[in-house]
Symmetry: C2
Subunit: 518 residues, 2 copies
Amino acid sequence: MSSFKELLLLLLIVQISRGYKEKGPRFQPTVGEVWPKPNSRINYGDYFEVSENLNFLVNPGSCAIVQQAVIRYKDMIIEKSKKSYVKSEDRATSQIVQNFQITFTDSCTVNMIPNEEMDESYTLKSNSLEAKSVWGVLRGLETLSQIIVRTKLNKLIIPNTLITDAPRFPYRGIMIDTSRHFIEVDKIIELLDGMSFNKFNVLHWHMTDDQSFPFDSLVYPNLALKGAYFPDMIYSVQNVIAIVEYARLRGIRVIPEFDTPGHMGSWAASHPEIMTKCGGINNGIYGLINPSVPESWEFLYNLYEEIFGIFPDKYVHLGADEVDTDCWETNQGVQDWLVANNMDNVDLRYHYLERLAANTSSSFNRLPILWQEAFIENPGLTLPSKAIAQIWFDYKAVMAKITGDGYRTIMSDGWYLYVLDSGGDWEKFYTVEPTNWTGTASKKELVFGGEGCLWTEFLNSNNIIPTTFPRASAIAERLWSTKETTDINDATFRLEEHNCRMMLRGVHCRPANDFGFC
Amino acid sequence: MSSFKELLLLLLIVQISRGYKEKGPRFQPTVGEVWPKPNSRINYGDYFEVSENLNFLVNPGSCAIVQQAVIRYKDMIIEKSKKSYVKSEDRATSQIVQNFQITFTDSCTVNMIPNEEMDESYTLKSNSLEAKSVWGVLRGLETLSQIIVRTKLNKLIIPNTLITDAPRFPYRGIMIDTSRHFIEVDKIIELLDGMSFNKFNVLHWHMTDDQSFPFDSLVYPNLALKGAYFPDMIYSVQNVIAIVEYARLRGIRVIPEFDTPGHMGSWAASHPEIMTKCGGINNGIYGLINPSVPESWEFLYNLYEEIFGIFPDKYVHLGADEVDTDCWETNQGVQDWLVANNMDNVDLRYHYLERLAANTSSSFNRLPILWQEAFIENPGLTLPSKAIAQIWFDYKAVMAKITGDGYRTIMSDGWYLYVLDSGGDWEKFYTVEPTNWTGTASKKELVFGGEGCLWTEFLNSNNIIPTTFPRASAIAERLWSTKETTDINDATFRLEEHNCRMMLRGVHCRPANDFGFC
């Protein structure tokens, strides 16, 4: 297959290369176009000059999130643009924008956090931005920073424009797996930067898995001490707090996942007392968590208490993917406990997930997200009605099934970012449509969004950013823009510009399409 | 096809992930194994301690290349190893290696450069390295730095060993294309570092192509001024000199390619007077160079004079790939000139290549390398007998054909590094065998080596290094080690260690295989 693919590529290359080409990029980047594409944009045809001393007038002015965003975006608009390779033709300008008015109507409080109900809509004109919430202001400022460009004569200009915009889906995420490979903190920060430039609003942090436990819990320090790959491959509580705060200021939620009851090999390294020792073919291995001993529930309570102290989001991802119950079935203690409690092996699967979800809900007021298997393999599982299923394979059937049970879903099937092909392979992500399955309109309204997934079997700190951007930008546009935004040709040229823009701002993107300077 | 591949991957993932895994990497790296694998290695079973104040005694001691290498390798062996994630079990050691003796017999001169006839063989023991030439010393020091490791108790140890080693092929290269995307100087330096850790010995610099002309010629400054993507996307003469010198000190030749007669779109931006204006379907486009006007030959003479002043290698790559002669055939001036000189369109192809090769040979004493098309499309082309053909597709037929004409070849078919697949896809490069075609032993001796090719349509400074390493390491071992070195399982574990080692030394590699800490 690999050589067949190579042959196809070769033919393509030979075909492309023959003949004559003039100097320059294959796709000339657009100038001042927006990614992801806004819902509605009217250009009146004329331009205004933007002052190099642009003032942002903010009402109300006391909001820290907006004030900090203004500082960031002023730097991007005025300073970073000086080094841009994308320049506009010179334009006649009728007046100078000296003051830019930002207005929002909802309250802004010190500890407010982005959430599933946040309003991200905004209305942008050449000298004003109006939004209901601070989150809409953040999205509008990103758009503003994309439509102000420098001309070849180094003048800052903005078109006379009216943009009315709001996201199609409320949940637009990237999942990062920090267990298969440790990802350095500064790369997670760079990932958040790139996410904010694409209006993503959720970082789903798949913190732990079989391979390593990189979270340095203060309550159970042996988890990282014995479970991390190495003592310097850990995230301290301070690291996590800094990442969550960095995300919050950009309107990005951070949802933790400490996957159970499987994928816990790294927990077993330090806490075998909460694990189930397998019999049978896996004899002696610590497999799943052991729900039959009170230590396990106490442990989970204490750990989640710590986790929820530093991850303020209302949601928690409980994992529950790829659960092989062989160990429960071959462990005598578990089997004895089942008999004593009048349960069988099937009951145990329900018992574990329902008790875990109920505990996080009753004790910590958190709502669960789970991988699709929890819903599909356990029909009738009782979860909070606001629980969310994350779909990662066979989505046409699974979306229909799970929304049929009334649960909301997020789409990840087709959005596994480590799936690499030669070339500018973003189109395969762009053409995924989360509602492309058979179901009623009301069921499709349960599609709550989607997530690009960065499983790190083959990613580390050196290649995670160029693997993510600009390929994840395709997912961002699918989740933000209207369903009708499917023009590959239009997207190709805009993505070329967007890639130049992201690189200018310090995100180490790979090329978007083909030869060129972006 | 993409979704079929995704499905296969998915099945693979589901298959791998089900079941229970204990903490840790999928493939535990070896400790103190060598990449590429030496020809012969005997381990006597015992170990020596290596002093933290290890002295290198060099005879003769006046050789700058060796003295500088000693400084570099001492840093890797003593200092960089302190942060290594790969540690040996504690070993009993019988004595301390305090002095390490390096001896070589050939002369070492100030301006010596690596070349096609250099002797890279060496014999390495636990306290001595013997080689014929300084180049062998460089290769031996690399091996030495790989077999000295730190124990978990932080002691430096070396096994009592005897390594006798020499490369299978004299030409082991990486090609970099700096026209489709500009690659920053510091990334070329990092590429050279990585190459030296893999015993590569040629950097083939495909400097120019249709898309941009990044070399800042002092003789023809408009080439870069009008032909580079942007004024800061150029290599100054000083940049080139620094890169060539950095390579020389590591025993790496740098062979320039300024591709002609096609792939010259970026030349036309500044010097249309040497180009052929097309008629017919490409009407008005500047296609190939115009061999019918004396200005072209004068131009090439002057430019090559400058190029050869800063690239001292005996060889030059003349390009000549993908030549579409349509422009010559539709240009009236060229056609008139052919008539006046009693030539036809086929003659012109021969005339151009033979004259160019003869000129670089007679005026500059350089020998040519050309892409396979020059040989295949022009049977009986008269080139210097030491000319080399670079093979990039259909290698079984093409190798047989070109060696049948008595020319040497280098293999690149199957070694196009931008061909990406999900996962640790180095095996596809590892399993390429340059002599796997039908021919006599004497013909196969004409296979002079091979090259991994970094065409940069989809590579830029952000992803070129993790795309190259450790995938190119597979090519390095194929070209250095014996033909029988084909054990994928053995290579997998060694490559895991080698990747850790390269990263420790500052090369931004992607993961080699699967989850882990390297």
